[in-house]
Symmetry: C2
DNA sequence: TCACTTCTTGACCGTTCGGTCAGGATAATC
DNA sequence: GATTATCCTGACCGAACGGTCAAGAAGTGA
């Protein structure tokens, strides 16, 4: 229970182990543990002691690698923003609205699925007033949203979809997909599942795509009545 | 800055002040302050000191009224569940799907709007794995969802709406409405607003109602093309 | 083998945490 | 006015917090 009682016992790393392997493994372990702990307890509620225990290292070692709690947290946020940016490719008026929106919903859903802890970390940051991300929200992300919004509007002008407010539409897609990571505990409790299977996620993705595309009157090539 | 330096100075309560008025006012003040602080920092991250300062009372007084941090937190959760339950009236197959769904979206949206701190408190609790609410989720709330789900299915059988999965539909409505409380910082940052006006909220409500009802193929009496 | 860098960690620091408590202030009852 | 019950709060407690540091262990290149 107390700090000294756990004998640490990192399994591998008996002897030797070439150049920087230990360092990379430890860093990876610390980042993964920290993501879990920060996601669950928020920035203030998380403790370096808890992170260190999850990573199987003494607290001092975590600080040796990461410098400070704040630095560790910022590094995690930046990693999550990179993952986010990776799926934010540009679109143009020439693209097919149905394809773009479906790809949007699907990739966002997969991000929540592949990195649930990171998603929750991000959610906790926003929930607390986004003290570290305000600049990003008001700058980079805002520009990205407005660029997309303009394309949506042009699609509407061309009669490819209903003239809905594009910003509210983006928020709708974000919230609906984010929900399955952030509110996982609620989803599992209510559905009585232990976890969401790949099949469940596929079903939800299909559901969201159908409802949202139909709801916005998106004209799709392979249009078919729902189900 | 330090504990002793703030001279407390609760304005009123000079002399007398009939039976229990002070008590009620202090309790209200503490609950409001605690809701803000817990919502922002989560259960672990919140400190009684911060709550006391927000309430304009010494920390000891907060503990005098509330007994413990845990008790205070549970009480806030229960208050939020009551507000939640207040808008969960029963529905039947005989009701009009369009009316029910719109009322559902609207009341949920108003709950997020009227009690943003409570909504965020709830979100933080779920985000952290719902340690205090697991029982509620797996019991009361699950039953409520399944009862509604059955009605949705019957509507679909009668051809009043598409045969979409009713549970995913409920989650969609929850997430889309909850978003405007929980991710307020993001919404404001991206839209460049200082706050959401009543008109904004009305616009969003209309948008969500239109997209979701149309997306589920709900047959409404006063059906009109979107916008 | 030896010098040198990097890694590892227990001990420790000042601060803040949730919670207790004694005892003074105030209000209610007779 | 005396008695009693309730309210209020500064001082204090042990534990846990983020962070520092010195000193030893382990790896590296000559």
């Amino acid at each position: 229970m107390t700090e000294g009682s756990a004998p640490v016992e990192r399994g591998a790393r008996e002897q030797g182990e070439a150049n920087g392997v230990t360092r990379r493994r430890n860093e990876r372990e610390i980042l993964a543990a920290a993501e879990r702990v920060f996601a669950r307890y928020g920035y203030r509620g998380a403790s370096l002691q808890a992170i260190a225990e999850q990573a199987g290292l003494p607290k001092s070692n975590v600080l040796y690698y990461m410098g400070s709690k704040r630095g560790l947290y910022v590094r995690l946020l930046e990693r999550m923003m990179e993952r986010w940016n990776a799926l934010l490719d540009d679109i143009s008026v020439e693209d097919d609205p149905a394809e773009v929106l479906e790809a949007f919903i699907r990739s966002k859903m997969q991000l929540s699925r592949r990195h649930p802890e990171g998603s929750r970390l991000f959610a906790a940051e926003i929930l607390g007033g986004a003290p570290f991300l305000q600049e990003y929200l008001r700058g980079e992300l805002r520009d990205w949203v407005q660029a997309r919004a303009r394309v949506f509007e042009q699609w509407a002008e061309r009669g490819l979809m209903d003239p809905v407010d594009p910003v509210w539409l983006i928020f709708l897609i974000w919230s609906a997909t984010q929900h399955y990571a952030d509110f996982e505990a609620q989803v599992l409790g209510i559905t009585g599942r232990d976890e969401l299977s790949d099949a469940d996620v596929e079903e939800i993705t299909t559901f969201l795509t159908r409802v949202i595309l139909k709801g916005c009157g998106v004209r799709s090539r392979d249009a078919a009545p729902a189900r």
